[in-house]
């Protein structure tokens, strides 16, 4: 009997230890930067609470922690320069835990309990779609920093990442003009790649290209030998890659093993930035392409300061990337609107956002009141052996956002809007 009881205890102890370890790690990250929120004091005192809501745990933490870091840096910079309207910003950091439902709950808590003036956060489209009705109902304001599949406008969300006409569509046009007409579409099996590929197929049909195959693999898929066989038999001119996360590592490793180099069939990715290249291995990616609005190598004085500050704060081996930069300048864009409005009230800030622009590391970024997105330059970059991008093509001006594809003759059939 006693032995049985002992066994039970050891099992319990282990389970408890697991729970404590995980909860411990989670909470230690949560408290970083944002101490215990005291809404009434914050609202009336010298501090203005602002929400920072990213996945600090779970699968998405890989990407989101560095965006959170950049957002925190911008907030600290503004505070160091004397704050906003004579008040210091007080970040309230919450963990979305890679779970859309948690994102919805946490942003509700931030708006209702912490009474934040604005929230910066989100990465996956699922997390944004979960937060959208909450910010709209509670009349909050959310700055969303990641490129996505478009086809969305919310009066309570400011999209600082690219929509499709600022990333995917120009990339397809560039490929058609420079790399060939036959495209192999490869993506992870969820909403972003499927919507992106729907757009690409419509565009290829309209602009004289050809979709030779369209393949999806489950998130986390790690064996690409069969996909590579399909690539070999389809003989495309280029592979358009919308794979997300770890699958990219397996895909690029196995592509090289199969003897396919960037010279034979170049791959253009839209979810692989400097941060991801470090984990895949720069030598595997050298010569392949990506389409973004910002690279660490962008040559502006603002970017030089930004990269230096980021490395000084978080370590010299850290890199900046497109979503990191969008998470950074979003704070400044909001701060500009606050200054213009002379108030932290959401409605007044929203009204003031119209025509606000900031000098971001990527260049001048202007808010577009009609679509709630921002103007962005599009850059096609080629991966260098050191893991950085060299810009091989860019739009001359920042491109006006068009999330509903209204400016394209083939856009209506994709967006379903007349």
């Amino acid at each position: 009997m006693t032995k049985k009881r002992k066994n039970l205890f050891s099992a319990l102890a282990v389970t408890l230890a697991a729970a404590v370890t995980i909860a411990g790690c989670g909470s230690s990250e949560q408290t970083e930067g944002g101490s215990s929120p005291a809404p009434s004091a914050a609202a009336s005192g010298g501090e203005i609470p602002v929400g920072v809501l990213h996945s600090l745990t779970g699968t998405m933490s890989i990407s989101e922690v560095s965006v959170k870091d950049a957002t925190m840096m911008a907030i600290e910079e503004i505070n160091a320069a004397g704050g906003l309207l004579g008040k210091k910003l007080k970040p309230v950091v919450e963990d979305g835990a890679s779970d859309p439902q948690v994102f919805a709950e946490k942003i509700k808590k931030l708006i209702q309990k912490d009474q934040v003036a604005v929230t910066f956060g989100g990465w996956t489209s699922a997390s944004r779609k979960a937060m959208l009705p909450v910010v709209e109902q509670n009349k909050g304001l959310l700055f969303y920093p990641v490129q996505y599949e478009g086809l969305e406008t919310s009066p309570n969300i400011v999209y600082t990442g690219a929509t499709t006409n600022q990333q995917i569509i120009p990339a397809v046009t560039w490929l058609l003009q420079n790399k060939g007409k036959k495209m192999f579409l490869l993506g992870s099996d969820y909403v972003f790649p499927r919507t992106a590929n729907k757009i690409i197929k419509a565009q290829l049909k309209a602009e004289g290209g050809e979709t030779v195959a369209e393949e999806y693999t489950p998130l986390g898929h790690t064996d690409y030998s069969t996909i590579i066989s399909k690539i070999k038999s389809a003989k495309p001119d280029v592979i358009f890659n919308t794979l997300n996360g770890d699958s990219n590592v397996a895909f690029f490793k196995q592509l090289k093993d199969a003897g396919i180099t960037a010279k034979d069939i170049p791959v253009l990715s839209v979810s692989v930035a400097e941060e991801e290249i470090r984990g895949i291995g720069a030598d595997l990616l050298a010569g392949h392409y990506a389409s973004w609005n910002y690279y660490q190598t962008v040559d502006t004085p603002e970017n030089k300061t930004f990269v230096e500050a980021y490395k000084a704060k978080y370590g010299k081996d850290r890199v900046t990337a497109d979503p990191i930069e969008a998470g950074y300048f979003g704070v400044y864009l909001w701060a500009e609107a606050v200054k213009k409005a002379g108030s932290f009230e959401v409605e007044q800030v929203k009204a003031a956002l119209k025509d606000v622009s900031v000098k971001a590391p990527e260049g001048e970024v202007k808010f577009d009141a009609e679509t709630q997105h921002v103007y962005k330059k599009v850059l096609i970059g080629e991966v260098q052996p050191d893991g950085m991008f060299q810009t091989v093509w860019s739009t001359p001006e920042a491109v006006k956002p068009d999330p509903w594809l209204k400016t394209y003759p083939w856009g209506a059939e994709v967006s379903g809007q007349k």
């Binding site: 697991a18 995980i22 890989i62 790690t222 064996d223 030998s225 069969t226 093993d257 984990g279």
Partner: protein, 301 residues
């Protein structure tokens, strides 16, 4: 024609990886009846060992010998995973024999701890493992038919592991004692076999094989804290389909899942192929619940 051959090679290659991942599980789950949910994390430990060895060679060993790092990492990964497996058995699994559900929950806890530990030590983003130059490229038979050295190496590694496990289980004194203990614990103990030490030894051995699997996977896929979770379901599938308690079963299980999966994937898509294969496995297990190769022994009833 060459594409067909390539697909056949891919099928065998996928099977070999499945088998390598499942071999350790075939011992701990198949022979010892322990549901070890932390098996995937032992694979992860092997992969991080490869990464650490690479870092060590880059820093402290003359460049000319860098390519040897991978050969050094395999025994290291085995040793480290063996040690952690031994610890795990002594501290935890030992108290949970004959209680499969409790062992499932407890080892799942261990799996979460190990993942979080890896995240704390190495950080959440992936780490890049560079393949040694002698594994770059492949044998070019025709324009389309290139057999990558890495996959050939893995197939060879699996064959070697199989032979070693076979020799250990069927030709060594320790292995014979182990099989005796698995089949009839009381009787073996009566005959003077220290079943307690054997349990630890078998569990650690299975863990060590998982470490080797981690090294091999590091050549092909991502190295991250969640690495083990990608393979754990497939590994259990292989062992269950093959028939619990028989190593030969695992071999057939891995071959059928690997070859079928690649064939269906070529004909349909990756997602559909997984669905078809899982459906087939479920249907097969309805028809033959004990798997492809069943054990003819009363003691395991």
């Amino acid at each position: 024609m060459s594409l067909l051959l390539l697909q056949l090679f891919n099928g065998i290659s996928v099977s070999s990886i499945l088998l390598l991942v499942a071999l350790g599980l075939a011992i701990t789950f198949g022979l010892m009846n322990i549901i070890n949910m932390a098996h995937g994390e032992l694979i992860m430990i092997g992969a991080y060992t490869a990464y650490m060895t690479q870092q060590f060679f880059q820093k402290y060993v003359p460049e000319a010998y860098f390519d040897a790092y991978f050969l050094a990492s395999i025994p290291l990964a085995f040793a480290l995973a063996f040690g952690i497996g031994w610890l795990l058995e002594t501290l935890l699994v030992r108290h949970l024999y004959k209680r499969p559900l409790d062992s499932l929950i407890a080892t799942w806890g261990v799996s979460l701890i190990l993942q979080q530990l890896a995240r704390t030590i190495f950080g959440a983003p992936n780490k890049a493992v560079k393949a040694p130059s002698w594994l770059e490229g492949g044998i070019t038979l025709t324009n389309e038919l290139i057999l990558p050295y890495k996959r050939l190496f893995i197939i060879g590694l699996v064959a070697l592991c199989l032979v070693v496990i076979y020799l250990y289980l069927y030709r060594s004194r320790g292995g014979r004692n182990m099989r005796a203990a698995m089949q009839n614990r009381q009787m073996a103990a009566c005959l003077g076999v220290s079943t307690r030490r054997l349990d630890a030894q078998a569990f650690a051995f299975g863990s060590g094989i998982a470490g080797i699997a981690g090294c091999a996977i590091a050549l092909l896929g991502p190295i991250g804290p969640a690495l083990g979770t990608y393979y754990i379901v497939d590994a259990f599938m292989v062992v269950v389909l093959g028939g619990i308690g028989k190593l030969v079963g695992s071999l057939f299980g891995a071959l059928s899942i690997g070859v079928l999966n690649t064939a269906f994937e070529y004909a349909t898509s990756a997602t559909v192929a997984k669905v078809i294969v899982f459906t087939l496995i479920i249907a097969f297990l309805q028809w033959k619940p004990s798997g492809l190769v069943s054990v003819r022994s009363r003691s395991l009833d």
